[in-house]
């Protein structure tokens, strides 16, 4: 089932790549349809998923031999965390393929790359083999490189190249770390479950520390965390809106997901030793992301920097959850659940925000905040969508971001009280920057040039409504999501 969910978008991508002469609409229908089928399969997996206390950690397992001499096999399976992330990715890919293209150049290739990225992203979350995880990790770079470079605007080639080089550096650090990890078991295996059970690096100080360093560098670049975040703003600004949404919503999660799945779960002892420095880096990202975002005059750059801030919260939660081997289970579990909910919430919210920003570009070819004002008069529906998304992003109660952040902070207070306290400043600044953004763009006087600013179309409106409905649903009634994710975090921390 999971294998099919990965393969179907890949086949869709191939079909689009070789089918000659199809119109943009047909290409889009194929892309949305394929994503929907794959999403349906994930829903079935969810329906079968057992969240009760005694259930096995990984479910819907499947395994096919590939390179037995290296201990590599096609292994898929989900726990609550990866299932939630892949479902979120499924939603986001449907949304982004349904969203209109910014320029109608080469639609076939455009949608093919999206489907390729979908297969790669789902693959990354669903596989339980370190080598194949790495394969998908790298392939996500290739897909995004071409999407940004080819359909972006401005100096997009440079941005794409910078993105590719930065994140490849990170992924090679991960590769070396994986090799180090794998070589410490005998016989060599890349099976994630075996690694989680064996904890092969327990008691190895220097070696464990080096391997952890590799993982943290790699995943921090992908997440991204301060100070290795510099690839992110140009990549976002130059990328087309839907690609930005995927980049922020799905690709950044690969970093935080990997951080939990690999170092957190497979080398708990070493991770606990270095949890404090990691939390400090996370704190720096929270503050730096928020402050720099406040200073931006470009709307997309501003949203991009808030991503760094939000990923900071996530990593802070993860660090708090892994800081101890025993004790304060309740708080650490809460921090972990909060971190995963933050990944989901950030995916949906920032996805929506970037799509809206993309809509601004299609309409007026600029992201400068000064160029807008008073849009609430001409585009009321877009205003509502942007207000909900911005409030969700700044953590207003009743919306998804709040559910995540409250758990992260409560959990972190029990472990690193002063870091959590300073981190709260980040929320204040984010609130300020989003309120100012809304005020500048949607209220006040309408500039002459924006008088004909069209409101969201039916298609755009449906996509945004669906994403934001989920954001509100998670905010008002989070039980269903918390049960799913909680089953994973209690298995990780209680187990």
């Amino acid at each position: 089932m999971l294998t099919l969910a990965i393969l179907i978008p890949l086949v869709g991508a191939l079909v689009l790549a070789v089918m000659p002469k199809i119109t943009q609409d047909t290409a889009r229908v194929i892309a949305v349809g394929t994503s929907a089928v794959s999403f349906l399969l994930l829903l079935i997996v969810w329906a079968q998923f057992d969240t009760s206390a005694g259930a096995p950690a990984f479910q819907s397992l499947a395994e096919i031999e590939w390179i037995p001499s290296l201990g590599v096999a096609w292994r898929v399976g989900v726990d609550g965390m990866s299932l939630a992330l892949s479902l979120m990715s499924g939603v986001l890919f449907i949304a982004c393929t349904a969203w209109p293209m910014e320029s109608s150049e080469r639609p076939r290739a455009y949608y093919a790359w999206f489907l390729f990225l979908e297969a790669v992203s789902l693959g990354l979350f669903l596989v339980l083999d370190l080598l194949i995880f790495y394969v998908f990790f790298d392939l996500s770079l290739v897909g995004m490189f071409f999407l940004i470079g080819r359909w972006g605007h401005g100096d997009s080639q440079r941005a794409a190249l910078k993105f590719f080089i930065f994140t490849l550096a990170g992924s090679l650090a991960i590769l070396l770390a994986i090799i180090g990890l794998v070589l410490s078991v005998d016989p060599v295996t890349f099976d994630m479950r075996t690694m989680i059970d064996l904890q092969p690096l327990a008691g190895m100080d220097l070696r464990g520390g080096l391997i952890l360093l590799g993982f943290i560098v790699g995943f921090a670049i992908k997440a991204p965390l301060f100070p290795v975040h510099t690839w992110l703003p140009p990549a976002h600004v130059m990328a087309p809106g839907p690609a930005s949404a995927i980049l922020a919503g799905v690709l950044l999660k690969m970093g935080t997901y990997g951080l939990v799945r690999i170092p957190f779960q497979m080398m708990r002892e070493t991770f606990a030793d270095y949890a404090l420095p990691l939390a400090i880096i996370a704190l720096a990202s929270i503050l730096w992301g928020a402050v720099v975002a406040l200073a931006q005059t470009d709307m997309k750059r501003r949203i991009a920097y808030t991503s760094i801030n939000h990923m900071g919260y996530t990593v802070m939660g993860i660090a708090a959850a892994g800081a101890l081997l025993n004790g304060s289970e309740g708080a650490r579990e809460m921090a972990m659940t909060g971190a995963v909910v933050e990944m989901i919430a950030h995916g949906l919210i920032t996805g929506a925000l970037f799509l809206i920003a993309g809509g601004f570009w299609t309409r007026s070819k600029t992201y400068e905040l000064d160029a807008f004002g008073g849009l609430a008069n001409v585009a009321p529906r877009m205003t509502v969508a942007a207000v909900i998304a911005a409030f969700a992003s700044l953590g207003l109660p009743g919306l998804a971001g709040f559910v995540a952040e409250v758990q992260i902070f409560v959990g972190t207070f029990a472990v690193f009280p002063w870091i959590a306290a300073i981190g709260l400043l980040g929320i204040l600044i984010t609130a300020a920057l989003f309120l100012r953004l809304l005020q500048q763009v949607f209220f006040g006087d309408l500039p002459k040039a924006r008088e004909g600013f069209p409101d969201v179309s039916l298609r755009e409106g449906t996509v945004l409504a669906a994403l934001l409905a989920l954001v509100i649903l998670i905010g008002v009634y989070p039980r269903w999501l918390l049960d799913l994710i909680g089953s994973a975090s209690s298995a990780m921390i209680g187990g």
Binding site: L168, L172, L183
Partner: protein
């Protein structure tokens, strides 16, 4: 005399002679017939090689090693040569007497094969010389074109120096140990006999001599010129085939010295770092695609040396060496097949927007480059993966880290070309060579992508291989 042990090599000589005779007698429009003779010779040699599967012994009184390493290296040499032959008839269409080219190509392949199988220092010299002399001819084949002649000339001058060093080094070893056979040398060194700084000098000179064929520092300077100036089929051949033979030859020499006695492994590690760093840094600024591939090929030789560094320190070193050589050969040949198909188009700016007019060639070039970077799931990834695993396992973590940093740097120039292909503005019509090169482009791209399927078979075959003397 166990003449049957040399059956594959004899088949190649016979094919070379026959294709030369055919070229002398055939009319101009039938010169490509020599290519068919050469291909048949290669097929026969491959079959004869398969007979040797599983043999691990010395023959001809210790001068010729028959083992898994030389077997697979020779298989790769023959397949790579066959691929280069595929590129040639279209390329040399206007050359009235190009039938002779195939004879030289076969002899050059023979040189590489005998390098891989050399079990004696003197045999090593002869095979390096055979490979070099034919190589100069292949590089300078377009004798009316200054760049080609320059490439051949540089190759020759570098070669003369490197071969002189090789011979001096070998004479030193021979004088100090009183023997040139690998079996006897290994025996003496295992007992710690004859160790002296002078022996180290001799070994270092020998290594420099073989490094010439490998395109490694300090004898690498010919490679970018040959890649740029030689006819593209020759460039494809010379950047791949001699390297395969030289890799095994070098590994054999290094393996003679037990790691505990001499810091030879550290020397190789230093050469590896210098080679990969220099190759990648020089490639960064190239605005000529063929030169760029040439420098990248220097860098790849640096990666290759990592496996030789940990020979005897990690059990998987030989597997990684063979896997990396194979993956490099596939990736580099695929890249050159695209260049050949595009009539040797070489200025980087001529590649702008090529994806529009030549989608297949552009995609194939991207795939080949991704493989050379080592992005999964191309064959290059598995080469680099096994290489990294064995290097870390052998205790050279720092070397693996340097190689990873180099890989990141290399992405800059590879991705720049990819960017030009897909994001650039197309410039006018693009002339292509012919049907045969178009098939070669497909074969190359598919090989890069589909090599992930037999990877388990290949790795277990390589794992069972041995490198004599044990």
């Amino acid at each position: 005399m166990p003449i049957g042990d040399l059956a594959p090599e004899i088949a190649i000589i016979v094919a070379a002679v026959l294709s030369l005779l055919f070229a002398a007698l055939a009319p101009r429009n039938l010169q490509a017939g020599s290519a068919i003779i050469a291909l048949v010779g290669i097929a026969v040699a491959l079959v004869l090689l398969m007979v040797q599967l599983g043999e691990t012994r010395f023959t001809f009184t210790g001068t010729w090693a028959m083992d898994g390493a030389s077997l697979w290296a020779r298989v790769m040499i023959l397949l790579a040569t066959g691929f280069c032959i595929m590129l040639s008839p279209d390329w040399f269409r206007s050359d009235p007497r190009h039938g002779e080219y195939y004879a030289i190509l076969m002899l050059a392949a023979l040189g590489a094969m005998t390098m891989a199988g050399a079990g004696d220092l003197l045999q090593l010299v002869i095979s390096v010389l055979l490979s070099s002399v034919t190589g100069y001819t292949l590089a300078a084949w377009h004798r009316d074109w200054a760049l080609s002649v320059e490439a051949g000339m540089k190759y020759f001058l570098m070669g003369a120096l490197a071969n002189a060093l090789l011979i001096t080094g070998i004479v030193l070893i021979l004088g100090l140990l009183g023997t040139s056979g690998y079996q006897n040398i290994a025996l003496a060194l295992k007992l710690g006999k004859g160790l002296s700084p002078l022996l180290f000098v001799g070994l270092a000179m020998t290594i420099t001599g073989v490094a010439f064929k490998l395109g490694a520092v300090p004898s690498h300077a010919w490679l970018p010129d040959v890649a740029e100036g030689a006819p593209v089929p020759s460039a494809a051949f010379l950047t791949v085939v001699p390297k395969i033979g030289a890799a095994i030859a070098l590994a054999r020499v290094v393996q003679l010295v037990p790691p505990e006695f001499m810091n030879l492994r550290e020397l190789i590690a230093v050469i590896a770092v210098a080679t990969m760093t220099l190759g990648n840094l020089a490639a960064l600024k190239q605005d000529d695609l063929r030169r760029l591939i040439g420098w990248s090929s220097v860098a790849q030789a640096g990666y290759l040396l990592m496996a030789i560094t940990v020979l005897g320190l990690s059990p998987d070193a030989l597997t990684a060496l063979l896997a990396f050589v194979a993956s490099y050969a596939i990736g580099n040949l695929a890249a050159f097949s695209v260049v050949a198909h595009l009539r040797g188009r070489t200025a980087l700016s001529d590649y702008d927007g090529l994806a529009v007019s030549q989608p297949v060639a552009a995609a194939a070039l991207v795939i080949a480059f991704l493989s050379l970077v080592g992005i999964p799931p191309t064959v290059g990834f598995f080469g680099k993966l096994t290489l990294f695993i064995t290097t870390v396992d052998g205790g050279f973590l720092w070397l693996a880290v340097v190689a990873a940093a180099n890989t990141v740097a290399s992405l800059y120039f590879y991705a720049r070309v990819m960017g030009r292909l897909y994001f650039g503005k197309p410039t006018g019509d693009v002339a292509v060579l012919g049907r045969l090169t178009s098939i070669a482009v497909w074969v190359g791209a598919v090989a890069v992508l589909l090599s992930v399927i037999p990877v388990e078979t290949a790795l277990s075959a390589f794992e069972m291989s041995r490198l004599l003397p044990l």
